[in-house]
C-alpha cells in the first residue's frame, strides 16, 4: 500500500518538470499521450504505489497542480 496519495490538476500543468526532478521516489513523468488545454504534456504518476506522501513535488510546483495526502 502506498503511504501517500498525489492528485494532479493536469489542466494547470505546464510540464516544467520541477516535480519530476525533485521527487525522491522518481515516480513522476510527463504523459506524452496527452495534451492539455494549455498545450503541454501534463505530468502523471507512473508508480502511485511508491509515493511516500513527502509533498516535495507540491512544494516545488509553481502552478499549484498537485495536492498531496499522507497516511
Amino acid at each position: 500500500m502506498a503511504k501517500g496519495r498525489v492528485r494532479f490538476h493536469t489542466e494547470r500543468c505546464k510540464a516544467c518538470e520541477l516535480c519530476v526532478h525533485f521527487c525522491p521516489r522518481k515516480i513522476l513523468g510527463v504523459d506524452m499521450d496527452t495534451i492539455n488545454l494549455l498545450g503541454y504534456h501534463p505530468v502523471k504518476v507512473n508508480l502511485p504505489e511508491n509515493c511516500n506522501g513527502c509533498g516535495i513535488c507540491a512544494l516545488m510546483c509553481p502552478d499549484l497542480v498537485i495536492e498531496v495526502e499522507r497516511d
Binding site: 505546464k14 516544467c16 518538470e17 525533485f22 513527502c54 516545488m60 509553481p62 502552478d63 498531496v68 495526502e69
Partner: protein, 246 residues
C-alpha cells in the same frame, strides 16, 4: 489520510500566467500559505508591481492594489499609516524595486515603515524581454548587455538586502532562494518572520528572494535552478542581515 499540500485560501482559483517553471508561482504560494497560517487573510492588503507579477491581484484572494512602476512602497506607506492594524505587503521585482523604485524603497526602509516587502530578484527585467537590471551579474548576457555586463559600462550589481539592512528603520532583512525544497522551506520561514515583524510593530521588513527567469535566461526550468545556485548565490549570499529584537 491527512492533507500535506493543497491550495491555500489566500489564493484565488485563477491560473498563473507565468512561463513554465518560473518560480514567481512558488513565491506566490508561500506568501498565501503564510497569510493563511497567521490568520491574516481578512486583514491583509497587497500592492502589486509593474513587471511579470503585474497581474498578481488576480491571484491573491486578498484586497490588492496595483502601483505605478516602483512606487509600491509609497502606496503601502499611505495605506499602513491610515490603517495601522492591517497587514500590508508589497510584491516587487528587481527592475521595479532596485531600478525605477530605488528612491521609494530606500526611504520606506529609512523611515521604518511597518510594511513587509517581498522582493523577487531574477537578475533582469523579465516582463519587457530580459533587459539588464541593477542586479544583473558581471559578465551576464542580457538583451541590453549582449557581450555581458561590464563594470566599466554599468558598474556593480546592487545588493539590496545588505544595503537596506544598514538603515536603522529596517527591523527584519533576509535573503533566501527557491532553488531547492530546503531553500523553499527557508523562504517560507523568512516570509512569515517578515510578516510577524510587521504585526509586532517592529519596523520595516524585507525578504529578497532569488528567483528564476527560465525564458529570458534561455534555460530550461531545471537548468535555471542550477544557474541560480552556481551564479546568483555566490554573488548574493543567503541569510538574515538584520533581526531587530525588542
Amino acid at each position: 489520510m491527512k492533507v500535506v499540500a493543497t491550495r491555500p485560501q489566500s489564493l484565488t482559483n485563477a491560473k498563473f500566467h507565468y512561463c513554465p517553471g518560473c518560480t514567481h508561482g512558488i513565491i506566490h504560494r508561500l506568501i498565501a500559505e503564510c497569510i493563511d497560517e497567521l490568520d491574516q487573510r481578512e486583514n491583509s492588503i497587497g500592492i502589486c508591481p509593474v513587471g511579470c507579477a503585474v497581474l498578481a491581484y488576480e491571484y491573491f484572494n486578498l484586497d490588492m492594489l496595483e502601483a505605478a512602476h516602483g512606487r509600491a512602497p509609497a502606496i503601502a506607506t499611505g495605506i499602513k499609516r491610515i490603517l495601522p492594524d492591517r497587514c500590508v505587503f508589497t510584491y516587487q521585482g528587481d527592475g521595479d524595486l532596485a531600478s525605477i523604485g530605488m528612491g521609494e524603497i530606500v526611504h520606506a526602509s529609512a523611515r521604518g515603515e511597518k510594511i513587509s516587502v517581498i522582493f523577487v530578484n531574477n537578475t533582469l527585467y523579465g516582463m519587457t524581454g530580459g533587459q539588464m537590471a541593477p542586479t544583473t551579474l558581471i559578465g551576464q548576457v542580457t538583451t541590453t548587455s549582449p557581450y555581458g555586463r561590464t563594470v566599466e559600462q554599468a558598474g556593480y550589481p546592487i545588493k539590496m538586502a545588505e544595503l537596506l539592512a544598514q538603515n536603522e528603520g529596517s527591523a527584519y532583512i533576509a535573503r533566501t532562494a527557491v532553488n531547492t525544497p530546503a531553500n523553499v522551506v527557508k523562504t517560507k520561514k523568512a516570509i512569515k518572520k517578515a510578516l510577524q515583524t510587521q504585526m509586532n510593530n517592529k519596523g520595516f521588513s524585507m525578504v529578497e528572494i532569488l528567483s528564476t527567469c527560465p525564458t529570458n535566461w534561455g534555460l530550461n526550468p531545471i537548468d535555471a535552478l542550477k544557474w541560480l545556485e552556481e551564479n546568483m548565490i555566490p554573488n548574493y549570499p543567503l541569510g538574515e542581515f538584520k533581526v531587530k529584537e525588542e
